[in-house]
Amino acid sequence: MVEQHLSVLPILLPLLAAPIAIIIGRSYLSWMVATIASAGAFIFSWQLLLAALSEGVISYAVGGWPPPWGIELRVDAANAFVLLAVSSVSTLVLLYARDSIQKEIDQSQHALFYTAHLLCLAGLSGILLTGDAFNLFVFLEISSLATYTLVSLASDRRCLTAAFRYLVMGTIGATFILIGVGMLYMKTGTLNMLDLAERIHVYDSSRTINTGLAFIMVGVSIKLALFPLHAWLPPAYTHAPSAVTAFLASTATKVAVYVMIRFIFTIFGAEHVFHEMGMDIILMVLAIVAIFKCSYMATVQSNVKTVLAYSSVAQIGYMVLGISLVSVTGLMAGMIHIFNHALMKGALFMAVGAVFYRVGSVDIKAFNGLGRQMPLTMAAFTLAGLSIIGVPLTVGFISKWYLVTAALEQDQWVLAGLVLLGSLLAVVYIGRILEAAYFQKLPDNVDASKIKEVPLLMLIPMWILVLANIYFGIETSITTEAAGSAAEWLFQHTRLPEVAQ
């Protein structure tokens, strides 16, 4: 019973739990519902990944209608892998949120927060699992609407303008995707991704298909905050409640990266996108500019959440860089970084949220002297920060390692050098915060006895993520195997440019 429906359950569980959570309406109970549903989704997605690794592809025809007439859910190693990252982070964030939102969100809105979180999770899972281009748009909008709500729940008024900007940009992005999908549909007459991939090749040089591709790429780039379309991300991440930022930073943009991978490799074919359209050059340039520009921006901000938000944009640059290398190793590096970045950014934002919980500010000055007052939180921050930098024995090192390997495979020495140089900038912006935490004194006007460790329920999820950072940094076989087979699978099922082979 369960095995038969494994592909639909990770979507269904949060989808059903969301209405229940709002009907219950009480903070504690809806938290229980949300956490259980999310944990369930995590367990199912774990099983799904195992099944996908052993079976290759799992197809599930919703409504019993065979594709392309009905909507198909199509699971392979790639999306099961990302889904695992999303559902695990979601579960940990929900555990963490219980205490964290007490300080940041009004009591009467807690049930709404959990409902929106569940809706967002359901939307993201739907995007990942669906095998239908239009269905993807619908789930994209579910997750986006829930995200706007989540961002605007904070008490600071600036979250409202951030959410509004996010809404306008996000809707433009979604509409662009809609236009693109419409053009593909117009030429091929189908919406099923696999069917699209089969029928699209007849029209490789068609102006309509190419325009469709361009619109989809721009739309997805807005959603994943690729430079220069990232303007919505820093304000949204800065002003959202901490638990929301931790969740969004580690999942929402990653799912958009996955959408980009799916469109490029499964639907259009790498051959067409990279070889004939020359998108690899564009993506590579944008990725490198993103890495440097946004890493630099991160070094000059005073709000720690903004620092980390810009760092996120830079890290997305690494993922896109991996894709743009058009090789199995490059794609694998991108996929690994999707997973790893979720681990590190989740931990970092949770630590920052913990600081906000005690100090009430996330300005860099507020970190002064916290190394002594909140040793566990700051230790977590330090370890995750080292991971962002890419220090060996952390997951960050693994991502960078594969990225550099991929660059060197193609003799792109300059590129490899640039990746390492980007890490140096990360040393600067993480280092500033660590300096404040460990080498500055607690300001005199602050009562030291009030600044102590955060509740256990916040520390445990944070440390689970930190330990995962280290565990997956040493025991690399799991992630590399999953990401590797995902990348290989994607490459086997796409038409390749001759150059890369």
Partner: protein, 118 residues
């Protein structure tokens, strides 16, 4: 002439889309931005519906003696998309109401000045 007749619909739709898009990115007033967003989306819907039309066909509801129907699939997609559009509009407008309460204005350049950057 045939060429123009074949594409007239699409071109006007593109023009409408761009009119909406222009309002979204150029308007300073948030309500107008939302109106622009709606115009933009509605025009995209027209693109979809245009491609579903069959000349000489009729609405896809079965009647006796008719064999030529327009394509029902774009209609279904757009029904969903309209709902998505109104949902976004509702959330956007309520954000505007809150912004007005918090800042006292809904002009983008005015509330930008009221907070420090970011």
């Amino acid at each position: 002439m045939n060429f123009i007749l074949d594409y007239y619909n699409y071109w006007i739709v593109v023009f409408l889309m761009m009119a909406g898009f222009y309002i979204v990115i150029s308007a300073n007033n948030l309500v107008k931005k939302i109106v622009g967003l709606n115009i933009f989306q509605t025009s995209v819907f027209m693109l979809y519906i245009s491609m579903g039309k069959v000349s000489g066909g009729t609405a896809p509801i079965l009647v006796e003696g008719v064999t030529q129907y327009s394509n029902p699939l774009p209609h279904v997609l757009i029904l969903t998309a309209i709902v998505v559009g109104v949902a976004t509009t509702a959330v956007g407008l309520s954000l505007i109401v809150r912004i007005k309460r918090a800042y006292g204005t809904v002009e983008e350049n005015e509330f930008e000045n009221k907070d420090d950057a970011i």
